[in-house]
């Protein structure tokens, strides 16, 4: 059993990135993820990496682009408004197939919104955000240990697929503290760089670009991207269930709401209601087929989110009967309470 450390979520993800071998961090201050920039400014110095406070989120994502195209492990973090600014860069990273990890510690929107926790960037993360046909591999951790585990995995998968991986969490997850254990420094890994720009010593010059003007070339490029996304869909789906197999009432939630729903399931079971939880860990690829199977067995399904109803659209799409699906949500930084969820579930019975 590894020694555990009590840290906040933002530090958990920062240290996990360091343990995965990330040595290039570019970021811009924004609440509620400021612990990342301050931690990285110290830690990168200790491990001989690069911390750079950029002039904007536009610059940070493009600095990530620059470091990534040399085959380095690079990362940036931000919160909702900053992630909106980064969409251009994310689209270019996708077009150039560069490995990169982007973390969104979500806050309330739209606009400047507030600095309270929110899950209202689900659509942006999962359905696009930037221009063009691309996908992000999106992990939604629900505990701080999951933040550590999936940050580490994010770097692994980013390199394996030359893919952009997003960790989608919220301000609450970033700020709260829990004991976690980190992988050892020696467990870091390297990326292949036989595609990267490193100077053309003893090889032909390479170019990295997302511009394909010649007739048909961009379509071929897109087809190859879609093939890669298809492979990720087949291999990388992750989800968690809790008492879901015999659930009469199935709660669905991601990230922090997953924790709330787990508690609600326990309370509902205590009341004699056969409740269960289905929690996607990868939001893209969405664990749709598994969920369809589970949905057939349940009489009623609720999707619980800290937004006006975003993942619920995927839940309805994959449910065997969309009329079974209800939504429980809070917006603008509101967090549904366990009793609120229990009440909504029982009240609608």
């Amino acid at each position: 059993m590894k020694e555990k450390q009590l840290v906040c979520g933002n530090v958990a993800l920062s240290e996990a990135a360091i343990r995965a071998g990330c040595r290039f961090y570019f970021g811009y201050p924004i609440t509620p993820q400021n612990e990342v920039t301050s931690y990285m400014s110290l830690r990168m110095n200790e491990v001989g990496g690069v911390f750079l406070q950029a002039e904007s989120e536009l610059a940070s994502i493009n600095m990530v682009f620059g470091a990534a195209l040399t085959g380095a492990k690079a990362m940036t973090t931000s919160s909702s408004p900053g992630i909106s600014l980064m969409q251009e860069g994310i689209s270019y990273l996708a077009g150039c197939e560069l490995p990169a990890v982007v973390v969104n510690v979500m806050r309330g929107g739209p606009g400047l919104g507030n600095i309270a926790p929110s899950q209202s960037d689900y659509f942006q993360a999962v359905k696009g955000g930037g221009h063009g046909d691309y996908r992000l591999l999106v992990f939604a951790p629900s505990t701080l240990q999951e933040i550590v585990d999936y940050t580490y995995m994010a770097f692994l998968k980013a390199g394996e697929y030359r893919m952009q991986v997003m960790i989608l969490m919220d301000g609450l997850m970033g700020q709260m503290m829990e004991p976690v254990s980190f992988p050892e420094m020696s467990e870091s890994f390297s990326y292949r760089n036989d595609w990267a720009l490193t100077g053309c010593k003893k090889r032909e010059p390479r170019s990295i670009k997302s511009l394909f003007l010649e007739e048909g070339v961009l379509e071929r490029h897109n087809k190859s991207l879609q093939k890669k996304y298809g492979e990720i869909r087949e291999k990388e789906i992750l989800y968690d269930t809790f008492l879901a197999d015999d659930a009469d009432v199935l709660l669905t939630a991601f990230g922090f709401c997953g924790r709330l729903c787990k508690k609600a399931v326990e309370e509902l079971r205590g009341m004699g209601i056969k409740a269960g939880l289905f929690r996607p860990i990868t939001l893209w690829p969405f664990p749709g087929e598994v969920f369809t199977g589970l949905s057939k067995k349940s009489r009623k399904i609720f999707c619980v989110e800290m937004n006006a109803g975003q993942m619920v659209e995927d839940i309805m799409f994959y449910a065997d009967n969309k009329n079974k699906v209800g939504f429980i949500g809070r917006t603008g930084g509101g967090i549904p309470s366990v009793s609120e969820i229990v009440k909504a579930v029982t009240g609608k019975r």
Binding site: L52, A59, N62, M63, G66, L197, G199, K209
Partner: protein, 246 residues
Amino acid sequence: MREIYKKPEALKDNITHYCPGCGHGIVHRLIAEVIDELKIREQVIGVAPVGCAVLAYNYFNFDVAEAAHGRTPAVATGIKRALPDNIVFSYQGDGDLAAIGTAEIVHAANRSENISVFFVNNTVYGMTGGQMAPTTLEGQKTLTTPSGREKKTTGSPIKVCELLSVLEGARYLYRGALSTPSNILKVKKAIKDSFQIQITKKGFSLVEIISPCPTYWGLTPLESLQYIDNNLLKVFALGEIKNTVR
């Protein structure tokens, strides 16, 4: 059969997409000649902009990345931080550097990022069809200033070297022009100085090159060279705008 002049190795043998008389081809060649002379071709990583030079990777015979519009200095920063011993340059036009990318160039200069920037200023957006650039002269007709650029509503041409000169991190700022063989050779020397500043880790340098765009100036190539001397150089002073390396 000894060659007196041969295509530089750092340039591919491809035919460029540039219009007749366009200065980009000259700047590409000067950069390639300097890279050959300094024997750094295998260490160089160039970053191409969005604009007419977007296809620069087809012409340079070394590693080249293509950046988003205006973000070239940020991309070059990421590359240089990851590979500090490689030689990194950013190649940008006036729209890319002086309009959409002003934040990135100012902060790369202010950090004294150890990169070279080659800034081709032809006072017009070429790739999109000849719209007003931030460096367009007052009175100059473009697609979006059909009666000539009006100071009252669109401001005056940005002098990038002078603007950056107040930043301590901007170590070497040179403005040259492609209007005569002698001016061209001065630009080449400035490009060489810029690379040498980077090789000796002295920090940020930028060479601004006043370059002809016959197509969107509505002039013949030869007339466009005269237009540089008679009009542009009245606004954009040539020479070393700043040098704190010496």
